[in-house]
Amino acid sequence: MEQRLANTWRMTNNEKKFIESVLASDLRVDGRRPFDYRDLTIKFGREQGLSEVQLGQTRVMSYVTSQLVQPYRDRPNEGTLSIFTEFSPMADPSFEAGRPGEFAVELGRVIDRGLRESSAMDMESLCVVVGKSVWSIRVDLHIVDNGGNLIDAANIAALVALLTFRRPDCTLGGDDGQELIMHDAEVREPLPLIIHHLPIAVTFAVFGEGNIMVIDPTHKEEMVMGGKMTFTMNSNGDICAVQKAGGVGVMSSIIMQCLQIASAKAADITSKIKHAVEIYNTERASQKANHYLLEVANQVSLSDVIMKEKQVENLIEHLAYMPLDELENSNQGDALAVDTRTKHESISQGRYTRAFVRGPANWDPYSRGISSRLATSFPTLPGPSTKVKEHNVVTSNEMTVEYTVEHTTGASSSSTRVLGAPAVRPHSKGPKSLKDAVKLRTRRKSGN
């Protein structure tokens, strides 16, 4: 549609010339050196197998699911892996919904090759009954924000999701010993996938005559570049895949140089991934243990209102308890509907646990313009209860748990809270006032 073409973003000549000329003096627009990566942030979802990776301004979400299927005829004892890439229209105004374009297909293929052909994943362990049922692992990659270098970010997201994914345990049983029983997560611990090594994709952008290379291009640099090369390597120094589809010709000596650099970067990123996953796993394990130990419910009844409190197990970084008291004139007089229910599952796991933060706080998406979740105590509902003949007229409305957000300073220091041991913060009983809220906030700030 011509109308759509009118919406494509085009770079100005000034920008193009500036980027090219400045690269000749080894400078980049965002201040990086030619072989520096942008800041990498890895986040996990509440479910296992959900990860979100942010590489500078690029955001990719990855979700891993599994299903029992029939194996391929020529590989009856191996599971299957399939990678689906979604270039969501939210990432870039030029991405169209519907069928994946050529870049989406290329991205999917590069990641697929890196995982499959280097035998990074153990497919034979996914076999349940030879020739009849095997596990099929499906990786969905959603590109949410296109800030350049999607291949690297998507690759990391896929790896992190695969590392944290757990598939249900299943055994053969039943009357004839042929029935497949899948065990619930409660009954038997779900199993991780067996991953031998981590193939990391490192992308170089080529400028000029093929002699200027930069690593991790931003989307503006990608508009200007002459060509692109991706090397997928692991920390053992093995090359898993190389992708150079057209573009400016590059001399083999430069390619060798790039391989050296890629190898170093791959090792670096591998350690970051492993570190993040380790933190996530230990946090999850300790959450499970604490869940049964630390839950304390105190019930205090005030006239018709029930007030409950629970202890917070973990402090996820900008989680500050700040209730606001609004005593309303209601029929029930001093009804104070404050429910300090900060149940761990619903709050902290509803948001992404920040397992790993690196770099200055201005790359932290959560410190940029995040609104605070405010807690409000809601007045009782007089209206509807009179229509329905209810004896207990008082109903306490929701009480949202909130956060104050440390806009620029908090993120890096507060991340250390997460990395340390889980902190338990008991909440005092009794009506809260605005003063408490303010105090808490300053206390937190001084703690940072």
């Binding site: 759509r4 973003w9 619903s346 306490s396 929701e398 949202t400």
Partner: protein, 246 residues
């Protein structure tokens, strides 16, 4: 029927919502973006502001809205198309369609987590994203899910497990009342029928008429609270990165 007689799995009372969280201005390329989460249901919405041209079949004398729904996994099927259609019609009623004729505003919704009340969460996220993008709106659309248990009591904001067990539930969308900031105003004595109206109502399952009206009342009261939360989250926003590359 007592309010506390229904035992909900996560310990909430019948009128209690899950914790709400809203963060805006998350994405760099999109003109407006917002992430809205209700408990474990998390939705990210992005808005690309008025683009030239309308699709075939749309009225070129008015602005048009395009909604793209992206599920977490799997192919786009009928359910996603239905959500797109409901979202589009809901947002069409709150946007000012005559300001920018012959333009298309795209709203892309990405599901990050689904634990019940997905469509209301998406509607709330889309409204927050539209505000973040600066698209002029008549009022906000505030959405809530209200379920009906076998006992006949209405529960608000059910989780997925609860949704599967209960007899019927309804997604309700109400307009944001401008008088909600007055603290002592008793419920709904606003001028005009618009403020008391329902923008959207989608029901699943069978419910008696009386219970449906009960749900409406509960839903409206809860939406007043959600819209307060909406306003507060907009007000407390530090003006983020206002320079956006297109």
């Amino acid at each position: 029927m007592g309010a506390m007689t229904v035992d909900r799995a996560d310990g909430r009372s019948v009128n209690q919502l899950r914790p709400l969280a809203c963060s805006r201005n998350i994405l760099h390329r999109a003109h407006g973006s917002a992430r809205w989460s209700q408990g474990d249901t998390i939705v990210l919405a992005a808005v690309y502001g008025p683009k030239a041209g309308t699709k075939k079949g749309e009225n070129p004398e008015k602005a048009s809205i395009e909604v793209i729904w992206k599920p977490k996994t799997g192919q786009i099927g009928k359910l996603e198309k239905e959500y797109e259609m409901i979202l589009k019609r809901t947002l069409q009623s709150i946007c000012l369609m005559t300001i920018h004729p012959n333009t298309t505003t795209s709203i892309i919704v990405q599901v990050f987590g689904d634990d019940g009340a997905l469509l209301p969460c998406a509607i709330n996220a889309s409204c927050a994203a539209l505000v973040d993008a600066g698209i002029p709106l008549k009022h906000l659309a505030v959405a809530i899910c209200c379920g009906l248990t076998e006992g006949g009591s209405a529960i608000l904001d059910p989780t997925k497990a609860e949704e599967q067990k209960i007899q019927a539930f309804a997604y309700l969308v109400f307009p944001n009342s401008p008088l909600s900031i007055l603290p002592s105003a008793p419920s709904a004595e606003v001028d005009g029928p618009i403020e008391n109206g329902i923008i959207t109502s989608v029901t699943h399952g069978v419910m008696p008429v009386v219970d449906y009206f009960n749900c409406l009342e509960r839903g409206r009261a809860a939406c007043a609270k959600i819209s307060e939360f909406h306003r507060r989250s907009f007000e407390s926003q530090v003006p983020g990165d206002l320079t956006k590359a297109t």
